[in-house]
Amino acid sequence: MASVFAYAPAPESRSIVDIAPSYGLFIDGEFTDAADGKVFKTVSPSSEEVLSEIAQAGEADVDRAVKAARKAFEKWSALPGSERAKYLFRIARIVQERSRELAVLETLDNGKPIKETRDADLPLVAAHFFYYAGWADKLDHAGYGPNPAPLGVAGQVIPWNFPLLMLAWKIAPALATGNTVVLKPAETTPLSALFFADICRQAGLPKGVVNILPGYGDAGAALVAHPDVNKVAFTGSTAVGKEIARTVAGTRKKVTLELGGKGANIVFDDAPIDQAVEGIVNGIFFNQGQVCCAGSRLLVQESIHDELLDSLKRRLSTLRLGDPLDKNTDIGAINSEEQLSRITSLVERGEAEGAERWSPACDLPESGYWFAPTLFTNVTQAHTVARDEIFGPVLSVLTFRTPDEAVAKANNTPYGLSAGIWTEKGSRILAVANKLRAGVVWSNTFNKFDPTSPFGGYKESGFGREGGRHGLEAYLDV
């Protein structure tokens, strides 16, 4: 944005975080090399700088980690809930104390703006541990009968879009309910999970209760298939989710899947326009749109389409894209080269199919993986960009005429994770929300998260709920 009031760069200092040149796997309370000695590199998406070299888990490491977790399970599950709560509270407090360090680390490894890691990710990570720490000694009152039992070893596979937050969503309820954990972070963002391993040691967590295995899909597959894993929790793509469902079918493993989405953000003609524009921006450009519950399909009532689009375009022109460590940056880097090429090819397909593409004037940095915020107008339900999850800063704009049509179009997707409704009419919010087949429906807001609120999907967005009291069920024998 060329302006008379050009903000000077305001970079957060990266000296607060000390990244070692290499990291091992975290098994049974110790950092260790992979059995076959394999390593991989993790890079910073905004600069392509190599941050560290990480041990790459293989099948033998998965087996070692599951054995360690199995052994730890006996003692951990036998602890009174109030004792487990102490560990969780301690972890939550350490996360808070180290939150600036972790925010910088996450921004370096993931590419998302420091504004988001500092103001959204880290506060939520701590909040999840605090929340589930509170449940640990109250499981008898969770509605699952007296003394609900833990399942055993939880094998957890998490994505790269919210590395530490997804870890918290998985580990906090698992530990609170008395399970032990083997967690595989994504190969592009392993660092915050390894720092979390250090936090577990700092908190004095018994050995083997939490094990962290950075690695690729093969390690995730081995973990899911391991016969001694009792519970599988996965957040990631629908394709991998289906693969996992096939693997665990017919076993006694419990499973929850939190998969893709193509969330509809519905704006009625009586909406608070300025706030709706903010909500649309937050819905699709938060974390560069790399959010499973992103509001990636904008459904606008036809009567206000032009007015809303003018406002939205003007607003997008003020978004600041660039160095994610700059405190004034709104849009950071795409997580990986692979993801960038996926976004690029879907966007090219949208253009080829005749949708109209628009981006604000916006300089992209020379190195790193970047994609300018993008709007597609003249989109119909028949376009690929209205159906496929793009997982990037790309918004498809469709129109509708009546509330019924809005609901029909919103539900006309294989997914069902999130939706948004914008209207000043309360009765319409309730009526429409009841008809939407989505796990979360936000009204006059978007992308709001809270540990007390269950989250999960319908249809190809997966099953099971994380967060809230409902999130306990996935880790209890009920």
Binding site: A6, A8, D274, N328
Partner: protein, 320 residues
């Protein structure tokens, strides 16, 4: 929106044709979601402004201050001192810009005018039975004419909040147009809503449009005399209103938050709101003002800090 501006301007002419058309128009404006508005204002407040941007912002903010004294105890001496400070806020550093204006009660306009003579500093006066506005229209108009005759460059009028809250929009509209007429061609009119008394954001948006339709040159949050004065959220809302009004009519209107803005940090947050909401066209003192008195000294101290690298202290700026 900008594409059909002339047609829209024509359409807006009929808005004030009758009480009912005016009411229908004001109530047809998009609603305001309070949570969303406040969240947006707060998120813009986290912009980090430093080094050259901060130096620029501080000088800009100083040049936008309406240095104000509105006390029953105001004397010619006090007003003269204020005028001198407005012209040369920091005697130790001649590069410091002058403030935009001095703002005084109508009976002090002539004194203020003398005090700032020869400079670009304007004299603003709170005519119209400030701050309550509870007087007959004829009294308010006489107040305005007196101030203008004494040389006021700007009139800050308060609206009749009672009439507004009673839904009597036409009365408010007529008062503003009458005062605007009394301002003549020389004085610019700032319309004060007393947003703290209007209470809801929907009311503030309606008042903003009402003021602009009636010919306000500036819309201003408050008198500084009630509990809740300028806030980032109500100023953001008014910035949205002037932005949308210009898009529809081609007419640009200024914004003045007043009351409660005391620190440089706060002032800079307001400038960020201007920059990212209405845009850079509003980033000068013809279109944006701060109604403040204690703010100036903090801006001066911050300016000295940037220039010297050290904090000086309250004794290094004047107390006027």
């Amino acid at each position: 929106m900008p594409t059909n501006a002339p047609a829209a301007a024509h359409a807006l002419k009929d808005v004030a044709a009758s009480d009912s058309t005016l009411r229908r128009f004001l109530h047809g404006l998009p609603g305001v979601d309070a949570v969303g508005l406040e969240a947006r204002a707060a998120s813009l407040g986290t912009r980090s402004i430093k080094t050259t941007a901060k130096a620029y912002a501080i000088d800009l903010a100083i040049s936008m201050v309406d240095l104000t004294t509105l006390e029953g105890a105001d004397t010619p001496g006090k007003v003269r001192a204020l005028g001198a400070k407005a012209v040369r806020p920091d005697p130790t550093d001649r590069t410091t810009p002058s403030t935009a204006a001095v703002c005084v009660y109508p009976d002090m306009v002539a004194t203020a005018k003398e005090a700032v003579a020869g400079s670009a500093v304007k004299v603003a006066s709170v005519a119209t039975a400030f701050p309550a506005g509870r007087a007959a229209l004829s009294v308010k108009l006489a107040d305005v004419r007196d101030a203008v005759a004494a040389g006021a460059d700007e009139i800050d009028m308060v609206i009749d909040r009672g009439a507004f809250l009673a839904g009597n929009y036409m009365k408010v509209y007529d008062e503003i147009t009458a005062v605007k007429e009394a301002c003549g061609t020389t004085a610019r009119l700032k319309v004060i809503f007393e947003t703290g008394e209007l209470s809801t954001y929907d009311n503030i948006r309606r008042a903003s449009w009402l003021g602009m339709l009636a010919g306000a040159d500036f819309i201003k949050t408050s008198t500084g005399k009630v509990a809740v004065n300028a806030t980032p959220a109500n100023t953001l809302l008014m910035l949205e209103a002037v932005r949308d009004f210009r898009a529809q009519t081609g007419i640009q209107v200024g914004v003045k938050p007043a009351g409660g803005i005391r620190t440089s940090k706060d002032a800079i947050k307001f400038l960020v709101l201007v920059n990212e909401t209405a845009g850079e066209d509003w980033l000068d003192n013809h279109w944006f003002r701060f109604g403040a008195s204690s703010l100036l000294n903090d801006l001066l101290m911050q300016r000295q800090k940037l220039a010297t690298g050290r904090y000086s202290g309250p004794d290094y700026v004047t107390v006027d």
